[in-house]
Subunit: 252 residues, 2 copies
Amino acid sequence: MIPPVNPSISVDCVIFGFDGKDLMVLLIDFTRSQTAEGKIVEKSSRKLPGSLILENEEIDVAANRTLVELTGLNQVYLRQFGVFSDPRRINSEEDLQWIEKAYGVKVSRIVTITYYALVKIDKSILQPTSEGEVQWHRVQDIRSLAFDHKHILVKALEVLTQQLLNEPIAFELLQKRFSIRQLQNLYEAILGFEIDNRNFRKKVLKLPFLKQLEEKEKEVAHKPARLYKFDKAAYEKEVKRSRLQLNFIRFF
Amino acid sequence: MIPPVNPSISVDCVIFGFDGKDLMVLLIDFTRSQTAEGKIVEKSSRKLPGSLILENEEIDVAANRTLVELTGLNQVYLRQFGVFSDPRRINSEEDLQWIEKAYGVKVSRIVTITYYALVKIDKSILQPTSEGEVQWHRVQDIRSLAFDHKHILVKALEVLTQQLLNEPIAFELLQKRFSIRQLQNLYEAILGFEIDNRNFRKKVLKLPFLKQLEEKEKEVAHKPARLYKFDKAAYEKEVKRSRLQLNFIRFF
């Protein structure tokens, strides 16, 4: 038996990954039926993964459920970043019908609470869903999405950019061992502009929590680069030190 | 005629102010009827300002409506910081009855979206509400609140602290002209610990967007201190400069 769902509140997840070069996002291909000139036609489009919440479920739990169902990944970085509540965000007949059929409840207005997840692409195993096929897409290639999901994606990128400037979240997207080039590629992919190579290198090599490894890249076309890893304990020590020095009053 | 309300979704607002010494929050005194030993007794407690959202209303609009109704202030700093969705967050008979009476709708589970506002106390004019009296309270004196509002207040403080370390939001709470002592009092009130006077002074006087004024404090018991103001244009210039220098990769 399916537990009762709440017809007014949903979660939607922007699941980001990084393939070493481009920022990627997980989308579902799905089909809605539409009546055009008296005939029923199928209309295909893409959407973010999401779900109405269950009546006895907290929203964080609902978001995590969506993520696990799709990627098989548990305990990944998941952050709530917004609430979309435009009373007209879902109001076409085809949208409402598709939702009512998928969940078996009558809906009118849905407020959605949005999350982004940062996953290591190489560890995710995409699961088939009842809604449609799930696939990674390059963020920069995405033109349109169903419902108001393009709007949600744009907002997610905005918050992610801000967070990237303040917290060491880049390492959630990178593989455990990475080259400086890959780190720079990730920054460039999210910030949306090129960074000077030498400046970037100089800057990040000073970070006390970036640990140089003995290993180098393998099976690459260019000269194999040195690999690094993020040292979380060293990072936390730095945060403490910076507070003691009143560096927390940084404003900019 | 009252427009229809959404019985599943509310907003709650933590409205912060600063009186030059302590961090303050706006609370409503209200009374619920409770049946004890067959008799109806009145039970008084305090709550955060909030409201069920209207069916045709965005949540940001609902939060702003709550704020304007209470303080008479429009266009103040208002930030969404969380969603509280525990299915049991409102479940006592007296809580449900009070809400149903106040809004004239049947409710079961309510998910609330929370905001904090930063206001200049001297500019706010408290308005009487139908729920009860509205008053400023010192945050550090608050022991308990109705519903899960204490939990919401604690979370608001957590997010505010984090934001205080990264953005120039202190100036939203201070009067337009302030002394370094008042700025330090504010930091200490929010961070919850004492800061060394000399270090603080040295640190903030270097900030290029803190403009020294000719004026000094008036009508104070101690030696009148020099007044300062926040120069927003200079701050924005600094942000730009810091990005060009790749200082944005600061992590800590």
